[in-house]
Amino acid sequence: MKKLYLLEDAIISPLGFSTKENIQAIREGKSGLKFQKPEFTENQFFAGIIDETLLNQVFSKIGAIEKFTKLEKMILLAVKQLLDKNKNLDLTETALILTTTKGNINLLKEPGDFPESRLKLSKLGKIVANFFGFKQTPIILSNACISGGLGLAVARGLGNSGKFTNAIVVGADLVSDFVISGFNSFQALSTEACKPFSKERDGISLGEAAAAIMVSTEKPEISNVISLIGDASANDANHISGPSRTGEGLYISIQKALKDASISAEKVGLLSAHGTATVYNDEMESIAFHRSGLQEVPIHSLKGFYGHTLGASALLESIITKHSMLNNELIASKNFGELGVSKSLNIIQSNKHKEIYYALKTASGFGGCNLALVFKAEKE
């Protein structure tokens, strides 16, 4: 299969409203996770939440703040940045791939002035498409916590079969009362900022973000370019919420993605893990990585910076991976203490300079889904 080139991107998160601000913040070790105390549970927890006043202030330059939900504003701001950099992009031909787990789910509890139809993900797609004038029906993907990364795989598959040349892939999700009470009922929320792969990890921290990236099947005329050269998803076929003890699905997806990319595990220079910081997830990942011969590869989880941004996470983290490859830098795995998984891993403990030619991004989610993406850097 052909490559999918990764072009301009944008990240809207508590760490900043552009990719540049986000990269700078994580380079400095800043985290978007803050102490929260919701009204409906006695449990305290940490989450990465975007300041709505700040969001409205920035959004008011491109649209009416009362007409759009928080999530829509985040998505519209992200896509706007890409379109501003690609003024000549033909919106009649460009595909829009929107990925999310829960969309505007916060409206279920507090609809405000929005009609019930606003809960529908197809409506969310329409709002984004109409705002900018995309003519193609948006492609909407909702596949748990691998959604954003799977959006890239879908773009590659459809682009490869000639359905489009250019696409914009968006991943976005909110920290809503809905997901907080859900993960709380799962007793999966950490009482502190999450600590991926560490001994003292005790659960996830939630986060919200919108990430967007322009992708193309045509090679751009720039000297350094990153492309997606391998992808695979695989189901554990084991349990709908608990990760497989053997890491089977993740292992299969890694094997297939490496094969698709025609590279061996030793070539991988950076492994961007899912690393949610639940006891079972991180353990499962360490087993799958070991089985794949990836134990020596520098690895990090970005959840300590952003929390788990659900449907946005695998896309947001792919964008950070892209920039790590372009900048030849390994970003330290935030909040890592002492290794707390049964298999050894080469966790990045401080920022380092390193030439990266190939990188692997993985993600896993409810429903037993797993995803692996292989990126290649072409540098001059």
């Binding site: 279920l108 529908k120 492609i139 998803s233 409810f366």
Partner: protein
Amino acid sequence: MADVTWLWFLKQKKNKMSNQFYIQDWVKIKNGEIFNSGKLIFESTEKELNLFLKECYEFLEIKYPKFHKMDGLSKLGILGSEIIFRKNKPTKDTALVISNNASSLETDKQFQESTKTFASPALFVYTLPNIVLGEISIKYKLQSENAFFISEDFNAGLLKDYSESLLSSEKTSRVLCGWLDLQNGEYDVFLCLVSKEKNIPFSEESLKKLYCAENDKPTHRT
């Protein structure tokens, strides 16, 4: 001239052979009726969703106690897949490409209701549309590609394009694709199994035709 025509014909044939996929079997569940490859195999006047689903389960003699713990969308997915996979033994790499309109909204509302007293973990786990893909994978031991798309209406083009891209790139040899929607107790299921074995050509037109065949009214919108 004749040679050129012959070459063109060979090329078409070759393209067809390498890129053509076929619908082996399909199932439709709607308005109290189950159709399998065009044949009515079950009908019921039961209006209450869970009772109807239980009737179908008993009719098919599935014997899978986990079924009763699932939400409506997952039950519908299991019923549909059972009918197809009973006749066509699934391979481990059989991909699942499913779409709907309502995502998991039916269960989302029930979970939201539960949060008023005690948030239910057993409901929360079903508040994602792709959970049904996990349930199908567990029941039929599929460790394959999964994708759950949301569209306003049955989007034959997208289902065909994405399934075909998985088949053509040899990421899989078979795809179970279709539509699996549930909202306000109304269900609309259309699943079909696609592979290289010759049968009904897998095209946007045939998908639309089969989906609409037993549909007297179009899928609901809001």
